[in-house]
């Protein structure tokens, strides 16, 4: 019964996501939804790392940047096919995660936060200064649209479907990881590293692999971003962006995947609320965009102080309440 409900929920999700381009051809809305989908992919990976394994990263925007620049360079610089760019971007970001995770094994908590922050800042300097590959402050433009087997995805609807199709697969895979053995090991690690070690979890290996998977997903999102927008510049991958991503996961709640996914949809849509609510005044949008950092910062503090389990905790509480009513 539980299993069939899970399948039904996934089918419904696919149907809703697939129906959007049939119902609307509003270019602005589809573009905003593409950004939402990209953030869903990044946040799923970060939820795995932070929410389940308890490892903080203030460097995820840099992994997104590695994916975006690598894919942009491989396709528009070297003229290779789109899929090669996606593979290169994702792999390179995952390797970056691996290389950052290995020396970070000794670090936890505050020190890991600082190390990943330093990593993001160093990558930011590289994005800005390695002009031959990254185009410096001006960035890279003219990145080609995604193209597989001669099919060019150059309409907003096709890019929307590509991004959200990828996002669905990613969320499905991450959901399976957290439900299985690695997920249990991660929760053990989050609870007590020494406890997990005592239960036979290879903590070092688990940390490195989780970091690599999480960074790889960020890189994948970066490649999608580069080809969807056609332009990349350093400011998209700054430390502030890493902090925003972490804020989304915090608001979504630790130990949950649905929570962070919902949070990433809601918080990414917030500054573009006019795409969904057409009557919304320009001044409201200007206000939301101007006060975005304040809203994120306050949301972070309020959630960890008042509702530490975030949106995911609220979902769990509602579920157990309805279950209690069922059994009466």
């Amino acid at each position: 019964m539980k299993r069939s409900m899970g399948v039904a929920a996934w089918m419904a999700l696919v149907a809703v996501i697939g129906a959007v381009p049939l119902l609307t051809d509003d270019r602005y809305l589809l573009k905003v939804l593409v950004f939402v989908g990209i953030n869903v992919i990044i946040v799923s990976g970060l939820a795995l790392l932070f929410g389940y394994a308890g490892q903080i990263s203030l460097g995820h925007a840099a992994f997104v940047g590695i994916g975006a620049y690598a894919s942009a360079y491989v396709t528009s610089g070297l003229g290779l096919p789109w899929l090669v760019g996606v593979l290169a971007g994702t792999t390179l970001a995952a390797i970056g995660g691996l290389l950052l995770a290995m020396p970070s094994l000794r670090l936890r908590g505050h020190y890991l936060a600082m190390a990943t922050l330093g990593f993001n800042e160093i990558m930011y300097v590289i994005f800005r200064e390695a002009r031959a590959v990254t185009g410096g402050n001006d960035g890279l433009s003219g990145i080609p649209f995604p193209e597989v087997l001669g099919v060019r995805m150059d309409t907003p609807a096709s890019i929307y479907l590509l991004v959200w199709g990828t996002a669905l697969v990613v969320v499905f895979l991450v959901a399976n990881i957290v439900r299985g053995r690695p997920g249990r090991a991660m929760r053990g690690l989050h609870g007590s590293e020494i406890g997990a070690l005592a239960c036979g979890v290879d903590v070092a290996r688990l940390k490195i692999r989780t970091f690599a998977v999480s960074a790889g997903l960020a890189g994948l999102a970066g490649t999608l971003y580069a080809h969807a927008v056609g332009f990349v510049a350093p400011s998209t991958f700054s430390l502030e962006q890493s902090v925003v991503l972490l804020a989304i996961v915090v608001v979504g709640g630790t130990g949950s995947l649905a929570g962070p996914v919902i949070a990433s949809i809601a918080l990414t849509l917030l500054p573009y609320a006019d795409a969904l609510i057409p009557g919304l005044g320009k001044d409201v949008i200007a206000f939301l965009q101007d006060w975005e950092a304040d809203i994120y910062g306050i949301a972070m503090i309020v959630v960890v102080v008042l509702a530490p389990k975030g949106i995911g905790g609220l979902i769990r509480a509602a579920r157990s309440r309805s279950r209690a009513e069922e059994t009466g």
């Binding site: 020190y111 330093g118 200064e129 503090i301």
Partner: protein, 292 residues
């Protein structure tokens, strides 16, 4: 490169090094009594400069404006600890990191809303031409920076070693529970540490404003470099933090002299990562064994 020119780079390095040292002292103070790395420390630096400019433009004399800037920033530090951190004082490191990151976002963004996005500056404390010394020109403001750093580190060392409150702080750094059992008001120690750290950060931020200007967004870099300095010397030890700051400033300045200025800002980051990965206890600090 002549020796006078090299010496000029050394002076420049110690000038920014003094700033890093003052910010590092703030990190060390909070870490010493709480074990928290305060990701909002750089914003205290920013607030010190921006608020002093605000008071100065209101017509206060420079000294009073600076004092008011420091006091207001200390107030912000106290309020932040009381309102945001204390409710989750017993939570793990991750939660506290998140709170200080959220706090830094809000402080930075609110400052832009209230005081505007423009850069601003203060006059030098003692205006006048640079002082020539052995073929090297030293700005008067640099003397102020060094003086303030020396006073700050002496005062902190005195506080730690000689006062009742300093003993309470050291007790807190060993064990909050044991300190509380000995009748120490640990909540007060933590709050005062935050207030003092905020004041120190503000002092650094306003003292450097005549040289570099200030704005709502200067906090992140200052915080990052101050932390690199603190960890280079050894977190939790005031003298080590100051040495870390001076060494970092010198490294940056020499990298400009011998390499290029393009990657100057990367020096602190590379130092930060190398120290974190190889010797997290710092050059001077002793390793802390983590207990189960």
């Amino acid at each position: 490169m002549g020796s006078a020119e090299l010496l000029q780079y050394v002076v420049a390095g110690f000038k920014s090094g003094a700033i890093y040292a003052l910010v590092a002292l703030g990190f060390t103070l909070v870490y010493g009594s709480t074990g928290i790395i305060n990701f909002a420390q750089g914003e205290f630096f920013m607030l010190g400069g921006v608020l002093s400019v605000f008071y100065y433009r209101l017509g206060l004399p420079l000294l009073l404006a600076a004092l008011a800037g420091v006091v207001t920033t200390a107030g912000v530090g106290l309020a932040f600890e009381r309102l945001a951190l204390r409710p989750r004082r017993d939570a793990g490191a991750l939660v506290l990191i998140i709170i200080t990151i959220g706090g830094s976002m809000v402080m930075k963004s609110l400052t832009r809303h209230i005081f505007g996005p423009d850069e601003a500056t203060l006059p030098e404390f003692t205006p006048g031409p640079s002082i020539a010394f052995g073929g090297v020109a030293i700005e008067r403001q640099a003397l102020w920076l060094w003086g303030l750093t020396i006073v700050a580190v002496l005062a902190l060392t005195w506080l730690y070693r000689k006062t009742r409150f300093g003993r309470a702080m050291r007790a807190c750094s060993l064990s909050h529970d044991a300190a509380r059992l000995m009748g120490i008001d640990t909540a007060r120690v933590v709050m005062v540490s935050f207030g003092l750290a905020a004041a120190l950060g503000a002092l650094a931020g306003l003292a450097v404003t005549p040289l570099t200007q200030t704005a709502w967004d200067v906090g992140a870099t200052a915080g990052m470099k101050g932390f690199a300095a603190a960890i280079l010397g050894g977190l939790g030890n005031p003298v080590a933090s100051v040495i870390g700051g001076l060494v970092l400033g010198l490294l940056e300045s020499l990298s400009v002299a011998f390499l290029s200025s393009t990657y100057k800002d990367a020096i602190a980051l590379i130092v930060l990562l190398i120290v974190l990965f190889l010797r997290p206890q710092g050059l001077i600090g002793r390793a802390r064994r983590e207990k189960v």
